[in-house]
C-alpha cells in the first residue's frame, strides 16, 4: 500500500475509532446498562451520569498509564538490574558506577549551567520583547517574528545554528555568519572597541550591579528585617552575588588582556566553556517567543488604571514597569520560568544534533541516550533517566501549583 494511503487510513481509523468509541459506549450506558425507562428510570439516569465522566476519561487514563506511569516503574526496576547478567538484580551498583563516571558529573554541571542561564535569559528577553511591543501598531508583526522559532523543531534550529557556527579552512570563504563577522576584526580601533572595551565595560557594570544588590541585602540583613530565615537567605544571596561579581570582573580582566587570534577562523563548537553557551543560544532563541507570548498576555491583563495611578503618583516608565507591572505579573513570570526550566532539564536534541556531547558539552538527557542506546547498558541508562526525573519532578509540581494559582 502507498504510504500516503496508509497515513490516510490511519487517520480514518484513529478518528473514526474515537468517534465510534464515544458514541457506542454512551449508547451502551444509556440503553443497555442503565436504561432511562421502567420503574428505576430516575435512579438509572443519575447512575449513568455518574459513570459518564469516566467513559470520557478512560482513553486518556489508559494511554497515560501505559505510556507514562508504567515506564516510570519499569525504568526504576531496570536501573537496579544488569543486562549483562541476564537482568539480575544488582542493587545500587549502576548508580555507584554512574557517580564514578566523570562524564556524568560533566553532564550534571552543564545541566546546572543551562538551568541558570536559559530560563533566566529566555524569560528576560521574552519580558523585554513583550513590554516593548505592547500597544504599538507594528508590535504584532514583531511578535510574530519573535514567536516564529517556536514553530521550528529543536533539530531544525540546531541545523540552522550549525550553519551560523560553521567553520571552513583558512583561505576558503566562510559560510558561517559568526566566522564571517569574526574575520572582519583585525586588531584595530574597531576591534578594541567591540571586543575589549564594550564587553569589558558590560562586565564591570554587571559586577557593579551584583555588588549593589548584594550591598542592599547586607544592609537589610543588618537591620534583621523578616526574621532568621530571611537573614540566612540574604546571606546565601549575598555570597552568590559576590561570586557572580567576581566572575564578571575576571571576565572583564580577560576581555582587556586576552590575546585574540585575529584573522583565523574559529571552530566555535569546540571551544570548551564557550561552546555550551553557543548551544544555549539556540534554546534561548526558541524559548524567548514562548515567554513573550505568555507574558504579553499577562501584561495586557494588568488594569490600565493602576498604571495611570502610578503615573499620577509620579512614577517614571522604569518604576511603572518594575514596581507596578512586574509585581502584578510575578505569578506568570514564575510559571514561564519553571516551564522553560522543565524544557531545559530535558534538553537533548540540540546537544545531540550539534556536538553530541563532545568537547565538554554533555548534558544528562544525551548522557542517558549514550548509555541506553549506544552502549546498550540499560542499567546505567535507566539510572540516569531516574536522576533526570528526580530533578524534574519537584519543579514540575511547583509549576503546576503556580499555574493553578494563576488560573484562580
Amino acid at each position: 500500500m502507498h504510504p500516503a494511503a496508509q497515513g490516510l487510513l490511519t487517520i480514518f481509523l484513529g478518528v473514526g475509532g474515537c468517534i465510534a468509541y464515544f458514541y457506542f459506549s454512551n449508547q451502551f450506558l444509556d440503553k443497555v446498562l442503565f436504561p432511562a425507562k421502567g420503574e428505576h428510570a430516575g435512579r438509572n439516569i443519575n447512575r449513568a451520569n455518574m459513570v459518564r465522566p469516566w467513559l470520557f476519561l478512560f482513553p486518556a487514563i489508559f494511554a497515560l498509564g501505559l505510556y507514562l506511569a508504567y515506564p516510570v516503574f519499569a525504568t526504576l526496576w531496570y536501573s537496579l538490574t544488569d543486562r549483562d547478567q541476564g537482568g539480575a538484580f544488582v542493587g545500587l551498583a549502576n548508580y555507584r558506577q554512574m557517580f564514578d563516571d566523570p562524564k556524568f558529573w560533566e553532564a550534571v554541571q552543564n545541566n546546572m549551567l543551562w538551568l541558570l542561564v536559559v530560563p533566566a535569559a529566555s524569560t528576560a528577553f521574552g519580558l523585554l520583547a513583550a513590554q516593548l511591543t505592547d500597544r504599538i501598531k507594528w508590535g504584532s508583526i514583531a511578535k510574530s517574528l519573535i514567536f516564529m522559532p517556536m514553530a521550528i523543531s529543536f533539530v531544525g534550529a540546531s541545523v540552522i545554528f550549525k550553519l551560523i557556527y560553521d567553520t571552513r579552512p583558512v583561505g576558503q570563504s566562510q559560510i558561517g555568519v559568526l566566522n564571517a563577522v569574526w574575520l572582519q576584526f583585525d586588531g584595530g580601533v574597531g576591534s578594541f572597541l567591540i571586543l575589549r572595551l564594550v564587553p569589558g565595560l558590560l562586565m564591570i557594570c554587571a559586577a557593579a550591579a551584583a555588588l549593589y544588590v548584594a550591598w542592599g541585602m547586607v544592609q537589610k540583613a543588618l537591620v534583621g528585617k523578616g526574621g532568621g530565615l530571611a537573614t540566612a537567605l540574604r546571606g546565601v544571596g549575598t555570597l552568590l552575588l559576590a561570586g557572580i561579581a567576581f566572575a564578571a570582573l575576571a571576565l572583564a580582566f580577560g576581555a582587556f588582556t586576552k590575546t585574540y587570534a585575529y584573522g583565523v577562523p574559529q571552530t566555535w563548537l569546540t571551544i570548551p566553556g564557550w561552546n555550551s553557551f553557543f548551544l544555549m543560544i539556540v534554546l534561548i532563541w526558541i524559548q524567548t517567543g514562548f515567554a513573550m507570548v505568555i507574558l504579553s498576555a499577562a501584561l495586557r491583563g494588568i488594569p490600565e488604571e493602576t498604571v495611570e495611578a502610578a503615573i499620577v503618583d509620579g512614577a517614571n516608565p522604569f518604576q511603572v514597569f518594575f514596581k507596578i507591572k512586574m509585581p502584578q505579573i510575578s505569578g506568570t513570570i514564575v510559571v514561564v520560568w519553571t516551564t522553560i526550566t522543565l524544557v531545559v532539564l530535558k534538553v537533548f536534541d540540540i546537544v545531540f544534533a550539534m556536538t553530541n556531547g563532545q568537547w565538554e558539552t554533555q548534558v544528562l538527557a544525551n548522557y542517558m541516550y549514550d548509555k541506553l542506546f549506544r552502549a546498550n547498558d540499560w542499567g546505567l541508562g535507566s539510572a540516569s533517566a531516574m536522576i533526570i526525573m528526580l530533578l524534574v519532578s519537584p519543579i514540575l509540581i511547583w509549576n503546576v501549583y503556580n499555574a493553578r494559582k494563576e488560573m484562580r
Binding site: P303, T306, A309, D313, Q328
Partner: protein, 363 residues
C-alpha cells in the same frame, strides 16, 4: 488650594474625531466642581486632560496661573481617584498610600505621619497592613481617597468614584466625601459623575457637558430653577422637564403663551413687544404641575398610567401631537386618576420659555 483656568480647550483623536471644543472654565480655590453629562460627552476626557493623562489638543490649562499643558501629571499638584479605585493589588494599604511619597523621596517619618493622618481621617487604621483584595468595596474606595490625601495636592480629581458601589454604600460614601470637602475648605475638587443626585448634593458649581461643549455652568439650584437651554432643562431633574409647544400672545414683564394642546400659561419670564406670535417651547417640571378644575389650565390630558411612590404619584399622560409624553408629579397618593382626564396648571415663576432651544430668561 489652587485656581484652575481652562481657555478654549479642545480634544481631537487622530486628527479627525472631535470630542471636545471651546471649553472655557474658571475654577476658584476651594470649589467643588462637578462635571455631568450623558455618557460619551467627554467629561472623563476633560478630567483626564486636567490630570495630564490625555494630551490637550489645543487651548491652555493653567493651575495657579501657570500653564501646565506640558507638565507631567505628577508635577501638576493634582491627585486622582479612579472609577475602579486602581489600587496596586500587590501592595498593602500602607504601601499603596505611601507609594507617591516614596517616589518623591520623602523621609520615612514624614511618610509615616502623612499615612497615619490620612488613615485616621478615613478610619482605615486597622486595615493598614491588609492587601486590597481583603477589603470591601467601600474600604477600597477610602484607600483610593487616602492615597490622594497623603500627597496633599492642590487639586483633587474624582472620576466617577462611587459608580462601583452599591446603592446604600454610595449614599454613605457621598456624605463622607461631602464631609471630607468640608474639612478641607481650601482644597479644590473636580468630580465627574453621571449621577444627578451626586452632582446636586456635592457641587458648589455644576458643569453640564453636551455636544462637545459646555451647556451651562452654575450652582445646582441655578441649573434646576433657571436652565439656560432645553438640554440642561431636561438633563437636570427626574423625571425630566415637560416641554410644550406654543405661541406667545402677550408680552411684557410677564409672558402669556397659548399652547398647541389648548391651554394657556403665564410665565414670569419677561419678553419684548416684537416677540408676540413667536413660536416657543414652554418648560414645566413635573413637580411644578398642579391639579386644577378651573379654565386657567396649561394642559389637559387623559392619564394613561400612574406610578405611586408613596410620597408622590407620577402621572403619565397620553401623547398629544408631537410633544413628548407629559409627566405630572403630585404629592401624596392619587390612585383613582388613571384613565381620567385631568387639567394641570403651574405658577408663573416655575414656567420656563425656550425659543430655538435657548431660554428667553438669559439675554
Amino acid at each position: 488650594m489652587a485656581d484652575l483656568k481652562l481657555t478654549d480647550i479642545a480634544k481631537t483623536y487622530g486628527g479627525t474625531v472631535e470630542v471636545l471644543k471651546h471649553i472655557d472654565l474658571d475654577i476658584k480655590e476651594g470649589e467643588l466642581i462637578v462635571f455631568v453629562g450623558p455618557s460619551g460627552c467627554g467629561k472623563s476626557t476633560l478630567l483626564r486632560m486636567i490630570a495630564g493623562l490625555e494630551k490637550i489638543t489645543s487651548g491652555t490649562l493653567e493651575i495657579d496661573g501657570q500653564v501646565v499643558n506640558d507638565v507631567p501629571p505628577a508635577q501638576r499638584g493634582i491627585a486622582m481617584v479612579f472609577q475602579s479605585y486602581a489600587l496596586y493589588p500587590h501592595m498593602t494599604v500602607r504601601e499603596n498610600m505611601s507609594f507617591a511619597l516614596k517616589l518623591a523621596k520623602k523621609s520615612a517619618s514624614e511618610i509615616e505621619e502623612a499615612v497615619n493622618k490620612a488613615a485616621q481621617i478615613l478610619q482605615l487604621e486597622e486595615y493598614l497592613d491588609r492587601l486590597p483584595k481583603a477589603l470591601s468595596g467601600g474600604q477600597r474606595q477610602r484607600v483610593a481617597i487616602g492615597r490622594s490625601i497623603v500627597r496633599d495636592p492642590k487639586v483633587y480629581l474624582f472620576d466617577e468614584p462611587l459608580s462601583n458601589l452599591d446603592a446604600a454604600l454610595r449614599v454613605a460614601t457621598r456624605i463622607e466625601i461631602a464631609q471630607l470637602k468640608e474639612s478641607m475648605p481650601e482644597s479644590t475638587m473636580i468630580y465627574v459623575t453621571h449621577d444627578q443626585v451626586e452632582a446636586m448634593t456635592l457641587a458648589s458649581r455644576i458643569v453640564v457637558l453636551a455636544n462637545k461643549g459646555i451647556a451651562q455652568v452654575g450652582t445646582p439650584l441655578e441649573l434646576y430653577e433657571r436652565p439656560e437651554n432645553e438640554f440642561v432643562a431636561q438633563f437636570i431633574g427626574s423625571p425630566s422637564m415637560n416641554l410644550l409647544a406654543g405661541e406667545i400672545i402677550e408680552t411684557g414683564t410677564q409672558t402669556v403663551v397659548t399652547l398647541d394642546g389648548g391651554g394657556t400659561v403665564t410665565s414670569a419670564v419677561p419678553t419684548r413687544d416684537n416677540e408676540k406670535g413667536l413660536r416657543v417651547n414652554v418648560g414645566v417640571r413635573p413637580e411644578d404641575m398642579l391639579e386644577t378644575t378651573g379654565d386657567d389650565y396649561l394642559f389637559e390630558g387623559k392619564v394613561n398610567f400612574t406610578e405611586a411612590l408613596g410620597e408622590v404619584t407620577l402621572l403619565y399622560f397620553n401623547k398629544v401631537g408631537d410633544n413628548d409624553a407629559v409627566i405630572g408629579k403630585l404629592p401624596g397618593v392619587h390612585a383613582g386618576l388613571r384613565g381620567k382626564s385631568v387639567r394641570m396648571k403651574a405658577e408663573p415663576e416655575k414656567v420656563q420659555v425656550f425659543h430655538n432651544g435657548k431660554s428667553l430668561y438669559y439675554r
